[in-house]
């Protein structure tokens, strides 16, 4: 038996048994609390992790579905510009062959984008829907014809059902 052990036993003998029990009980309580707190933390982490995993799965599915979203959104400007070019060319009486060629090119571009899930939002003649359209100009409405789109200033597009860009429209509204 080492000297230390002897001293420990001696000092243990000096402390009344009751106090020793109390001390040990307190120690157990503290340890229990610690364990509970760690368990709680673990539960929170587990709950967070479960949610995180669910969300990551969902986000991954979305990412796969909308992998080209940014590229296609950026290409919308180019589509617009082609359409503007055609409009100007037709109004300016440019040669049919040139106009026809550009039309074909635009059609090809839209076909490629369409295969990726791009669709033009319907506007003219439709009821204005702020989820799809943005009202940029207002014209006074005749009776019972409020909220109808009468002109499209810039077309809007959806990708697989998600609005990439709302249409900019001219809409009828009651005069205030």
């Amino acid at each position: 038996m080492s000297i230390d052990k002897v001293q420990e036993e001696e000092s243990a003998q000096e402390i009344p048994l009751e106090d020793q029990v109390k001390k040990l009980e307190m120690q157990i309580k503290a340890e229990q609390e610690k364990a509970e707190s760690i368990l709680n933390k673990m539960k929170y982490l587990q709950a967070d992790f479960d949610n995180y995993r669910k969300r990551v799965d969902k986000e991954l599915a979305e990412t796969k579905q909308f992998v080209n979203e940014r590229l296609i959104t950026n290409l919308l400007d180019v589509v617009d510009e082609f359409e503007l070019a055609l409009k100007v060319a037709k109004e300016g009486g440019k040669p049919d062959s040139l106009v026809g060629g550009v039309e074909m090119t635009l059609r090809k571009l839209l076909d490629i984008l369409g295969k990726e899930g791009l669709a033009r939002i319907e506007a003219i003649g439709k009821k204005f829907d702020p989820n799809l359209h943005e009202a940029t100009e207002i014209v006074p409405a005749k009776e019972n014809e409020e909220g109808v789109i009468i002109a499209e200033i810039r077309p809007g597009y959806m990708l697989k059902g998600k609005v990439l860009r709302p249409s900019m429209v001219k809409v009828t509204a009651a005069t205030v």
């Binding site: 982490l45 967070d48 992790f49 949610n51 669910k54 503007l84 702020p130 943005e134 009202a135 900019m168």
Partner: protein
């Protein structure tokens, strides 16, 4: 496992122009995306509420889109009216600012629940440091109307400090929180000590923001086009294209020295289509922005004077709001104080993140570090 799940407290940055929400997940902040998806304002959405004649309530991006066709039913910037007797009268009904704000909060609650896949009940909402008791109470009421238990209202600059972890510093310090958003800017001088943030002074200008810089670029482009072609650009489509190009160029020039703005077929005269081509340099952009950015110096001087402090007394500088991403704005603030500002967090999300951190602390020690 149900107990931890119901105790999530989300942090909400209920802004004048845009709002956002965040929460802590496994000890890290996550910004909750709004249902309309990523927009120009990132994960934030416009603090706009609309009532339609047929009784629908629309909040966020869609509310903004229909504003022109329903001006009398659309409410912008209700935050400016919080805590006042003001009522909004729409289609024979009247609403208090709390009720309007509650609709914004309801949308956030719904978006958060969709994101998390479970109910959200508790929240921490941020308010400007200058908000008085009435305005704070009104914000709290708005939360309750939305079905949220507002466990605490905290100051926006305090939230920003929490986001940067300044509360973990074990020393006293003075902090300047500088906010520069789309339409307003403000400055708050704070003191941190003994675990508490205290506002020393606050000042601002509700009329100067980042949109002024975009407008200056649009004006420059219009002027250039007029000089080249003699045509004044006025139609809606041309102006929208100009505005979008200006915003894009401004963002690109945060990292580049020059950027090309190309807007073909922007107009046409009797004979020919006209195109706009302009190479915008960073130097030119800074020339345009400088008079606007300079205006932010005045409120900084004012808060320092009010708190009887000098730039040397300020230990930390925090920048919040989208416009502080512009290198010129950061440089101006850093030059003014002669020390670097904090970096590393998205200045648009930082207030919501700070509120989420506060929420996690109040939820009870489940911040895992």
């Amino acid at each position: 496992m149900s107990k931890p799940e119901t105790e999530k407290i989300i942090g909400i940055d209920l802004g004048t122009t845009n709002s956002a929400a965040a929460l802590m997940e496994a000890g890290r902040p996550v910004v909750i995306p709004s249902a309309e998806g990523q927009t120009a304002a990132g994960k934030m959405f416009p603090s706009v509420v609309a009532f339609t004649k047929d009784g629908q309530v629309i909040v966020g991006e869609a509310a903004k889109r229909q504003a022109a066709s329903n001006p009398e039913g659309t409410i912008f910037e209700i935050k400016r009216k919080m805590g006042t007797d003001y009522t909004v009268n729409i289609y024979f009904k009247s609403y208090t600012p709390q009720q309007i704000s509650s609709l914004i909060l309801q949308k956030i609650k719904k978006d958060a629940e969709t994101f998390l896949g479970r109910p959200v009940k508790k929240t921490v909402i941020t308010v400007p440091a200058h908000f008085n008791d009435n305005q704070r109470q009104a914000t709290k009421d708005a939360g309750e109307i939305a079905g949220l238990e507002v466990v605490r209202i905290i100051n926006e600059p305090t939230a920003a400090c929490l986001a940067y972890g300044l509360d973990k510093a074990e020393k006293e310090m003075k902090i300047c929180v500088f906010s520069f958003g789309g339409g307003t800017h403000d400055v708050t001088l704070m003191e941190f000590g003994g675990g508490v943030f205290q506002v020393l002074a606050t000042s601002g200008d509700t009329q100067t923001g980042g949109a002024d810089i975009d407008n200056a670029i649009v004006q420059l482009l219009k002027e250039e086009f007029r000089k080249q072609t003699g045509i004044e650009l006025t139609d809606k489509l041309a102006l929208t294209r100009l505005k979008e190009a200006a915003e894009k160029a401004k963002i690109e020039l945060s990292n580049l020295v020059t950027t090309d703005i190309d807007l073909p077929f922007i107009a046409a005269d009797a004979n020919n289509p006209k195109h706009l081509h302009y190479t915008l340099t960073k130097a030119k952009l800074e020339d345009l922005a400088l008079p606007i950015v300079k205006r932010i110096e005045e409120p900084i001087r004012r808060v320092l004077a009010d708190a009887k402090l000098t730039t040397k007394d300020v230990d930390r500088i925090i920048l919040i709001g989208g416009q502080t991403r512009m290198p010129l704005v950061r440089k101006m603030v850093e030059d003014f104080f002669g020390k670097p500002a904090e970096r590393g967090l998205d200045p648009m999300e930082c207030v919501a993140v700070g509120a989420a951190i506060q929420g996690a602390v109040l939820a009870g020690g489940h911040i895992v570090t």
